[in-house]
């Protein structure tokens, strides 16, 4: 207390003493001195009154509800009516699923089945988790995906404040788009063509740039002096492409010349011309004619392969069935689909891999799969064929499936750890959403179906690849790591809710372990993975949805118990 204070009988109260007095912070003797002074000094009484009024003003101003509490923070009770949203999400999902099935999956599936793949293969491929066919390459891809994912999450966390504002988000998206467009060599000119009918480069005409075409069909009779990118029903190259060809098409036919590589994702592919470098195809049926020539190597994911034209270097293929009837300059490594036509072979006596009379393989010849290759006596092989028998076994008896599941467990756990340490609030929110089950499942299914459709549409509309491709990657990423949120929920359901980051980490580890264990169960395993993915995907969707919801109206005096008066 100030020695000059009126409590000691001198002059006016200083302001600190006045404040301490009205807040009840003075010692008893000092307070009595102030009381005595106030009895004689009107100026100090007025000062204390003013200070009290100032305190009141501050309390009122600070405690007034001048803005609503964000809806994302006010976790609604589980019983609160989201039923309309559930209903909409489920209906949307069902409609989307039907569209996806009737327009895309069924025709593709029929095509694949015709070509030696069965439905299970297609779905396991779709879910990226088919333990029966994954090899080291897939592992590496998985690790790359994990690293990219962790990086993306870290970036999202760092810039989350900016991302939250729509305008900044738009700028971010636009920048991303520009970056994507800037990725191809800037010096190279690009011609973009987007139309609904047929597009043709006529004979005698030369396009002096890279060419992006989205049309019903594309036909090149003239010359493309650069790379050719096609998204269409059918691609026919009768002329000359000096660069590479990338084709996403129902049907691809090359009777002309491609100086670079041919990379396709297609149903049917026929090569009658010349490919200067390599051939990479994900294709239902692939046929090369006798007069065709591929200068480099061929890497194929193919249902049925008929190779009659020469191949300069190696042939590496994952396939349903194949007939090799041509000179091959390098090694041949074939992996048969594990569910390949055993019954067909038993009835017709025809094996899935035939090496016919015109075959001339300069390097080694190795086949892995359930059935022996048939080699014609007239075929020329530089070395004896090596066959490794790999039979289809249920995942729980397959050591590689355990290894793969351990890898997935590790990568998902890593992502979960990053999330727990960087954004514990987000993790808790996501787990809370997963625990509602119905809503996240509905939203998850809607996202699972609609995101790739949206990505596909984006690719063919004004927005283009810049948005479509990242959206597709985001979809794959979310599908894979959705299980992290589901895992924490599973862990909490078993061990009960814990407190703190370590307990959440423990629950994540246990939940992930159980999900991966469940994934090893034959038939049911696919559903375990699928449900875990849907729950996580739905939880993410719900969080995003809540972010963009208008804030709730101000809560009616959500009062707080006061601390005892000082």
């Amino acid at each position: 207390m100030n020695p000059d204070s009126p409590a000691n009988g001198k002059s006016h109260l200083d302001e600190v003493t006045g404040l301490l007095y009205i807040e009840g912070q003075l010692e008893k003797d000092d307070a009595q001195g102030v009381v005595a002074h106030l009895g004689q000094c009107s100026s100090c009484r007025r000062l204390l009154d003013a200070l009290k009024r100032e305190s009141l003003l501050l309390q009122q101003a600070l405690r007034e509800d001048d803005e609503p509490v964000p809806a994302s923070l006010l976790a609604p009770r589980a019983s609160e009516g989201l039923s309309w949203w559930w209903l909409s999400a489920w209906s949307l999902a069902a409609a989307g699923l039907y569209t996806l099935w009737s327009s895309y999956l069924e025709p593709w599936l029929a095509n694949f089945q015709q070509s030696g793949f069965d439905g299970q293969f297609f779905f396991t491929w779709l879910l990226l988790n088919g333990a029966s066919w994954k090899g080291w390459d897939d592992m590496l891809q998985l690790l790359i995906l994990v690293s990219l994912g962790v990086l993306a999450f870290a970036l999202l966390f760092l810039f989350r404040r900016n991302l939250r504002r729509i305008s900044s988000f738009s700028i971010f998206l636009a920048a991303l788009l520009l970056l994507m467009l800037a990725l191809p060599p800037a010096a190279q000119a690009v011609e973009l063509v987007k139309k609904t009918g047929n597009y043709e480069v006529p004979e005698g005409q030369t396009v002096h740039s890279d060419l992006f075409v989205m049309a019903t069909s594309v036909r090149v009779v003239g010359t493309v002096d650069g790379d050719l990118f096609c998204f269409c029903n059918s691609v026919t190259i009768e002329g000359h492409v000096t660069g590479d060809v990338f084709a996403f098409a129902g049907e691809v036919r090359v009777s002309g010349k491609v100086d670079g590589s041919l990379r396709t994702f297609t149903g049917h592919e026929l090569i009658e011309g010349e490919i200067g470098r390599n051939l990479t195809s994900f294709v239902g049926n692939l046929q090369t004619s006798q007069r065709s020539r591929v200068g480099g190597s061929a890497t194929l994911y193919v249902g049925a392969l008929q190779l009659d034209g020469s191949l300069g270097r190696d042939l590496t293929a994952y396939l349903g069935e194949a007939t090799l009837n041509a000179p091959i300059g390098g090694d041949v490594l074939l992996r048969q689909s594990l569910t390949t036509h055993r019954e067909g072979w038993e009835t017709t006596g025809r094996g899935p891999v035939q090496v016919a009379s015109h075959a001339d393989i300069k390097g080694s010849f190795r086949v892995r799969g359930p059935l022996q290759p048939e080699v014609s006596h007239e075929a020329h092989l530089a070395s004896a064929p090596k066959f490794e028998l790999v039979e289809e076994i249920p995942p729980y008896r397959n050591p590689r499936a355990y290894w793969l599941n351990a890898m997935i467990w590790g990568s998902a756990f890593l992502v979960g750890l990053v999330l727990i340490s960087l954004a514990p609030g987000f993790m808790q929110q996501a787990t809370r959403q997963v625990s509602r089950i119905g809503a996240p499942l509905g939203f998850g299914l809607a996202m699972f179906v609609l995101m790739p459709v949206a990505a596909g549409l984006a690719c063919f509309t004004v927005v283009g690849l810049g948005l479509g491709v990242p959206l597709l990657f985001a979809w794959l990423f979310m599908i894979f790591f959705g299980q992290v949120f589901a895992a924490v929920w599973v862990g909490e359901a078993i061990l009960g809710a814990g407190v703190g980051a370590w307990s959440m980490t423990g629950r994540l580890a246990l939940g992930l372990f159980l999900i991966r264990l469940g994934a090893l169960i034959p038939v049911l395993g696919v559903w375990v993975r699928f449900l875990a993915c849907l729950l996580g995907l739905g939880a993410l969707a719900l969080i995003v949805w809540r972010r963009f919801q208008p804030p709730a109206p101000p809560a009616p005096a959500a009062a707080l118990p006061a601390a005892p008066a000082a």
């Binding site: 109260l13 305190s55 007034e64 923070l73 808790q428 909490e492 707080l560």
Partner: protein, 204 residues
């Protein structure tokens, strides 16, 4: 917001709910969350510069609270402990951004001994509204604003404020008074040049 009487759980109910939450009862934690998430958000909104900051901080604080429930001393009021955790979190957030920290560390011990003109002070107070006070608060140095929020929003006592701000208890009154002076100055400037300061209200 009325702070005097709790609308949700009463003292005994609250203590029981806290005890259940500490033993891992999810439902009990849910009840605590429902009751305290909004007040914690408002606390953060008063202390931190933007709504987004407050939202993030409130979310993180609720997670922290859940993690620290085991450390809560049940002989003390729950709300005081809760605001203590919130204050520490907000103060750390502000400190990480190093917003004008150097200026704020000076003169804590310098005691203002004036006896201001009561009439002038009275007149100035009578001209203010809640909105103007909140706008002026946003322009205060972080420590001054936090001190006022701890005292007049969270109703913390001087010991708790001293603890949260890291000053000796004897100086809490000085810190509060200096914060009031800064507020008066901001209010006076605001009423003198409303156009000039209107744009500066949100940005610190």
């Amino acid at each position: 917001m009325g702070i005097g009487k709790p609308e949700g759980m009463g003292g005994a109910d609250l203590a029981a709910t806290v005890a259940r939450a500490r033993s891992g009862d999810r439902e009990a934690w849910g009840e605590l969350y429902q009751q305290f998430a909004a007040p914690v958000f408002r606390f953060c909104r008063r202390v931190l510069p933007t709504r987004e900051d407050a939202e993030d901080a409130a979310m993180d604080i609720m997670v922290k609270l859940r993690g620290k429930l085991g450390q809560y001393d049940s002989s003390r009021p729950f709300s005081a402990w809760l605001y203590r955790v919130a204050a520490n979190h907000c103060w750390d957030t502000l400190r990480r951004r190093k917003v004008r920290q150097d200026l704020e560390m000076e003169d804590v011990t310098e005691v203002p001994l004036e006896h201001p003109d009561p009439g002038q002070l009275d007149q100035m107070i009578s001209q203010q509204s809640g909105n103007r006070v909140r706008a002026a608060l946003e322009r205060l140095p972080d420590r001054a604003r936090l001190a006022l929020v701890l005292r007049y929003y969270a109703d913390m006592n001087y010991d708790e404020i001293a603890d949260a701000l890291g000053v000796r208890r004897a100086f809490v009154g000085v810190v509060l008074l200096r914060a009031r002076h800064a507020l008066r100055e901001a209010l006076t400037q605001g009423s003198k040049a409303p156009q000039a300061t209107a744009g500066a209200g949100g940005g610190r």
